[in-house]
Amino acid sequence: EPEVTQTPSHQVTQMGQEVILRCVPISNHLYFYWYRQILGQKVEFLVSFYNNEISEKSEIFDDQFSVERPDGSNFTLKIRSTKLEDSAMYFCASSEDRGHRQPQHFGDGTRLSIL
């Protein structure tokens, strides 16, 4: 069964450094998403991406965050200047059609630890 893959599984970064999290969505999917989950808390929406532009973003997704689809297969999340509170699991997801009324399929996440 096709799946969303994410790399790395664990990223340790010094506060203030830039980090890029990578994802390969399911190949025939057109919509891409990033979510985060702080330890013990809910999964929170960050951003959705379609046709090479952001379609929706949350309040969490401020100017330090950016997303990109640099080629036909990868989808990345960049955090420009990491803060301690950015420590969380970051999940990439994709869906065939618009998220509404279509399930989003998630990868196994990247654990980001900011020191």
């Binding site: 999964v43 929706e56 949350s58 997801a93 509404h100």
Partner: protein, 110 residues
């Protein structure tokens, strides 16, 4: 703000019994709901979804029930197995995003 959430943070069931996980939502205009399973160290795994024009939907060993009158949905797992141990999230599809509830951790006793 309007939300979706679960009734109980934990549920313990005997192997072989049926499990029922409940969820309430607040927005009467909500029209698409999804149940996800999250095992330790993994991402949310899609289980089953339901649209508001349905009251019930069945999958393999799972059934989702939607009661729009009281804004409640439930996930029923038949003949619960040790492999069903996980955190279960009800979620709402809203626009481009999925809104997750807080999760119920299901423990299966042998």
């Amino acid at each position: 703000g309007e939300s979706v959430g679960l009734h109980l943070p934990t549920l313990s069931v005997q192997e072989g019994d049926n499990s029922i996980i409940n969820c309430a939502y607040s927005n009467s205009a909500s029209d698409y709901f999804i149940w996800y399973k999250q095992e330790s160290g993994k991402g949310p795994q899609f289980i089953i979804d339901i649209r508001s024009n349905m009251d019930k939907r069945q999958g393999q060993r799972v059934t989702v029930l939607l009661n729009k009158t009281v804004k409640h949905l439930s996930l029923q797992i038949a003949a619960t197995q040790p492999g069903d141990s996980a955190v279960y999230f009800c979620a709402e599809g809203r626009g481009f995003k999925t809104i997750f509830g807080a999760g119920t951790r299901l423990f299966v006793k042998a």
